[in-house]
Assembly symmetry: D3
């Protein structure tokens, strides 16, 4: 199995709504360094998992919905705590839609698995991984 | 599959008892940067894999047995070379016991897999991973 | 010249108030990984720049004012854009006061210089450095 | 499952031959930081996945074929674009041959899986992973 | 003294022409992760060292001359070994010209010092630093 | 001012002898990732600060005195707590002697400054820097 990872980041504000979160219930924020890993059994005719430029541009476009915003104001996230792991799932679902829509090119049909990881600090990160 | 990782570290002394280890048979030491990754198919009601504060506190408590000690003096490790990979397995087993004892909360019943990685330098790391 | 660095982090929300900031004028947030470096010409009687435990605890106490908060609501920062570089200066000033108040012990009188660096992502960081 | 990783690097020149690569069709180069991860269900009698010295030396020997060279001139790579993911596969195959030839010692018969990852920058990496 | 750093990277081919370089006399290549640090005694009216977007864009424009090329073919570098430290100096000089030309805005007149660092691998980096 | 850094590491055991160190008075250990930075006003005829191969080999030779040992048994360190900052100074002094002895070549006469940094974990590092 081959894999390719591209990295980008977002800077967001948010708050949490459960006593579990203690002081993190207050409005605060985070930088999420976002790593998206794409898996493929065999390489394409150009010896690629997928065009890295297309992968980076698509990730940047997906992240634009969240970057420099307050996640509490995003209606598509309503009713959820926008934890690092939850946001990894949301970014996974949006990347999956973008791939299905052909944003990574026809060759992306060969992709079989994707992993999204968000690092929130030097001591904590979370992610979501599933088949495509 | 969702995953969450917390990082901590220990500083230990030890020696090895086999010619395989060459000069590392002498008493020396290591900093192990310890990453524990917890896996779960779905998030809990708070959109969490597990409470990150509880995960960090439990890891710190598990590591306290080893931190700032000479592993050669720990009777529970007797008869083994305390290699990086072996210690990853030991920390895995102690974390698994702590989870079973409810130290990460009731929600931790949803955890299905754990990975423990110990980085011993900028050029070498090892770990142990298994189902929970 | 000897130096010692300790690392911690904060997660904050904020907004900016100048067209220079473009889309970052909206409420968003950041993780700042904070490195404080203390300089000293000679080591103390224990062969230390300063007690690392005291340095870490003092940094954590200084950061508590900002961690998990919205910097826009902090009256001591009013009238300023809480940029990465500005916040480095603010943390420098608070650490300097803590040192002057004896929080790092009597030996800290030997400290001659301090550097505070805040990393906001994997591609940008800023800081403030001055004599003590 | 236990795992052990060793890190090394190579510095190579190459060019690509497809319009997909845009300006990267020109002769350029890369540093690849190479991580090889070896997996094993149980540890050997010395509590090791494999002797780390042997693993590092074998990786260095495998990389010597490519280090400080122009990959365009390597006949074993002819007809391929030497992308990061393709080179990960090539290094995997050479490491697998070296293991089969006994270069990691008799104990390496217990290895069941290997992962090779090449980091080309702070924002992109790729790899190949398969059973042994 | 305040400072701000932005990071980018280039991927280049080159060769060296002196027996000092041993096997590195052959055509090979490198990824250089490039960090540019700008120093300023006081912040501007927006609480900035300089606009980070302008700094990043200017660095990217300066690096475009070298990225995805063979440095042996660049006439402005002729007669030199394009070592990591030499290239840091070249990038410093080009960034200095861009600043003098107003590319970082009028506020950049307050900049007093710049440091350029190029990391060629996980075990080696070099740079050039001087007053502006 | 140009600078060049090479990285290596050592794994040591030691204990401390002062109540200041609390539980670290017990025998424990550390991995020190060691970065040596050499400064020079102008480059040599090969466009180098110094031959990087010679710098790496010299650092490795200096570190061999300490690597895989118990620092408590080293008579040249007797009477001192072998803290991270103290060891940085010791490595500085040994590297300075090696340079004076010509181990980095005749060109090293141009070196004017050196910085030694030891990272003991992902959250703490220390060093010593002085003119040569």
């Amino acid at each position: 199995m081959y894999h390719l990872t591209v990295r980008d980041h977002i800077m967001i504000a948010h708050s949490f709504t459960s006593p579990t979160f203690g002081p993190a219930q207050a409005l605060h924020g985070a930088t999420y360094v976002v790593d998206v890993t794409l898996h493929r059994e065999t390489l394409d005719d150009d010896d690629l998992v997928v065009d890295i430029g297309a992968a980076s541009a698509t990730l940047s476009a997906v992240l634009a919905e969240f970057n420099l915003s307050n996640l509490d104001d995003n209606p598509t996230l309503a009713g959820h705590n926008t934890t690092t792991e939850f946001m990894a799932g949301e970014i996974f679902r949006r990347m999956k839609q973008a791939i299905a829509a052909g944003r990574l090119g026809a060759g992306a049909a060969g992709l079989c698995r994707m992993r999204v990881q968000l690092s929130e600090s030097h001591i904590a990160w979370a992610g979501y991984e599933a088949a495509l």
